[in-house]
């Protein structure tokens, strides 16, 4: 029985053999991206036409809508990935895709694993992807663009006093961005000070009373859902300056949650929320 299974497995593997594993030594021409942030990076590097498959959550730029989906961001389908015959798969590490990554490597698919938690991760992953795609110069240009973009955003708030900010990502329970996150970095660049930076976790769940005690001047509500919901949640906290002065700002879109080229857009949106007087 076990022998039969092993035979089947071997046959199955052989059946998938015509995977061009970087044959010829040229840069990969068929790329699969298993994370929304990495899809955006590949596109920004000008290699969008090499993508032959993306994850179910990859939705930017809009052109990726036409590409085959090869499973979820957290649980990619090994078969679907192999089915589009990639010569490079780029992926962000997660407990859910570890087995899939191993299975892909076993059948000889080249897998590049990069991180996407912080701005440093972003720079490193842009360089790694650019290197793997044979686009080193474009990679350096993209890193420089992002850095210049963020510097320009920061310059707009340079003369302004940093405002105390709470960045909300979930309403029930109340979950906020802590230190060590991309969002904390962007918030600082946009002229804010994260009042939940000392919570000891990246995504702390906090009690509403902590919001009262920390008295943020701005509450950036990036949780999904309606703006009315956020108002219900904070309306009673009348001693909080952000509530008192009407600075509970809903922020929509995924740019803030992706370590991709749109971090500059996200930082600009944060400036509009935190320092509307800075214009732009």
């Amino acid at each position: 029985m076990r022998a039969a299974c092993a035979t089947l497995l071997v046959l199955a593997t052989v059946g998938c053999a015509p995977v061009p594993s970087g044959a010829g030594g040229g840069p990969p021409a068929r790329v699969v991206s298993l994370a929304p942030s990495l899809t955006e990076i590949v596109w920004a590097l000008g290699a969008g036409e090499r993508l032959v498959g993306v994850c179910a959550q990859c939705d930017y730029p809009p052109a990726v809508a036409a590409l085959p989906r090869v499973g979820g961001y957290l649980a990619p389908s090994v078969e679907a990935v192999i089915g589009v015959r990639p010569d490079l798969v780029v992926v962000v590490p997660s407990p859910g895709n570890r087995e899939a990554v191993r299975a892909l490597e076993r059948v000889g698919v080249r897998v590049l694993v990069v991180h996407d938690r912080t701005l440093d991760d972003l720079r490193a992953s842009v360089r790694a992807l650019a290197g793997a795609l044979g686009l080193t110069a474009a990679g350096e240009r993209l890193v420089a663009d992002v850095d210049h973009g963020l510097a320009a955003v920061h310059a707009r708030v340079a003369g302004l006093p940093a405002r105390r900010v709470l960045l909300v990502v979930g309403h029930s329970p109340l979950v906020v961005a802590g230190a060590g996150t991309l969002q904390d970095e962007l918030l600082t660049i946009a002229g804010g000070t994260n009042v939940a930076a000392d919570a000891g976790q990246a995504w702390p769940q906090v009690a509403p009373e902590l919001v009262v005690a920390r008295a943020p001047e701005v509450i950036v509500d990036a949780a999904m859902g309606t703006e009315a919901g956020g108002h219900d949640l904070f309306a009673g906290l009348t001693t909080v300056p952000a509530v008192r002065d009407g600075r509970v700002v809903a922020l929509r879109g995924d740019a803030l949650f992706r370590a991709g080229p749109r971090v500059v857009e996200a930082a600009e949106a944060l400036v509009r929320a935190i320092h509307p007087e800075a214009g732009g």
Binding site: G72, E209, A223, T239, F257
Partner: protein, 336 residues
């Protein structure tokens, strides 16, 4: 066995003692949180404009009260279900009712409702009622149900709901999946006294309904036929208790998510101390569950400093070992 004989006096004394414990717990835990708030400043001159007032009166007290109602509902439902199904492992989330609530709540979230809007608990409540009807009808044949059938159908409903939740998480967008995950984790969080009052009235009605059937539940211990011979309308009583317990669970889950363990260990704990008579055990479980969850939530919001723990983590981590300890003591005494 000293605990097995129930007099009106003993019933009254126990309920009054537990009620006093609950009131003390509510008052004490309202003064406990991740940040310090002074009751004196909150109630002093200019009180309502102080952060202390906002913290204690607007955020902490409604949450403590909601914890009491939810803990009481889950625990009383657990006690009733353990007797109804004649199974010591029965607990509120076993009937499928909670997972029905979770799925319906999730659908509302994916459709765009905000987790703090009343739409989500309303959807969750409807989902719970729908699942309750489904479980009852599926477990019924020739006008009769059996405890086994109810348990099995409930377990299957849980499995289907868990799969539905994973399915939606797999196809939902990144932001939606994140929102759903947080919501299902469950938490006691409200600033609305109206919501607390609504759930409380509902919970007390459910408890009253259960207590009215306490004697029938006692007789279920004799088995279906035994109970029948002792004059119990077995099918009618089973339906009543099933519906009442499900309604209690539905209300609790729709406002707090899936908080586990309260409905399992508190009734067992009290049964060890007070004996198995449901006339005492049901109200005692309600009050005991309320006390337990109020303190568990106080621990959850203070243990990690500024950050909170999910309250379910505390109920399982603290309640589990304590329960095993009590059980061991009981075993050591009863086994030769």
């Amino acid at each position: 066995m000293r605990a097995s004989y129930l007099t009106r006096r003993r019933l009254l004394a126990t309920v009054v003692a537990l009620l006093a414990a609950l009131l003390v717990s509510i008052a004490a835990t309202s003064l406990v949180g991740p940040v310090h708030a002074s009751l004196r400043r909150a109630l002093g001159p200019g009180g309502p404009s102080t952060p202390d007032y906002v913290i204690i009166v607007r955020t902490r007290l409604p949450r403590v009260l909601l914890g009491a109602v939810v803990g009481g509902s889950l625990s009383a439902a657990g006690a009733a279900l353990q007797a109804l199904l004649q199974n010591p492992l029965a607990e509120p989330h076993l009937l499928g009712v909670s997972s029905g609530a979770a799925v319906a709540g999730m659908v509302a979230l994916i459709a765009g409702a905000d987790p703090v809007s009343p739409l989500v608990p309303a959807a969750a409540f409807a989902g719970a009622l729908g699942t309750m009807a489904l479980v009852y009808l599926a477990a019924r044949a020739h006008g009769r149900t059996t405890p086994h059938a109810i348990l099995l159908v409930g377990v299957v409903c849980n499995a289907i709901a868990a799969a539905a939740i994973m399915l939606v998480n797999a196809i939902a967008s990144y932001a939606q999946a994140r929102g759903v995950l947080f919501w299902i984790m469950g938490a006691l969080s409200t600033q609305s006294y109206a919501l607390v009052a609504l759930v409380a009235v509902y919970a007390l009605a459910g408890l009253g309904w259960l207590v009215a059937h306490a004697q029938s539940l006692n007789l279920f211990a004799a088995g279906d036929e035994g109970a029948q011979q002792l004059g119990v309308d077995v099918e009618g009583a089973r339906r009543s208790v099933f519906v009442a317990a499900s309604l209690l669970v539905a209300a609790a889950v729709s406002v707090s998510g899936m908080i586990g363990f309260v409905g399992l260990i508190v009734p067992h704990l009290l049964r060890l101390v007070l004996g198995p008579d449901q006339r005492l055990l049901l109200p005692a479980s309600f009050l005991g569950g309320a006390v337990f969850l109020v303190w568990a939530d106080a621990a959850a919001r203070t243990a990690l400093g500024p950050a909170e723990l999910p309250v379910g983590v505390v109920t399982a981590l603290v309640g589990g070992p304590f329960f095993v300890f009590l059980l061991r003591r009981r075993l050591a005494r009863t086994l030769p």
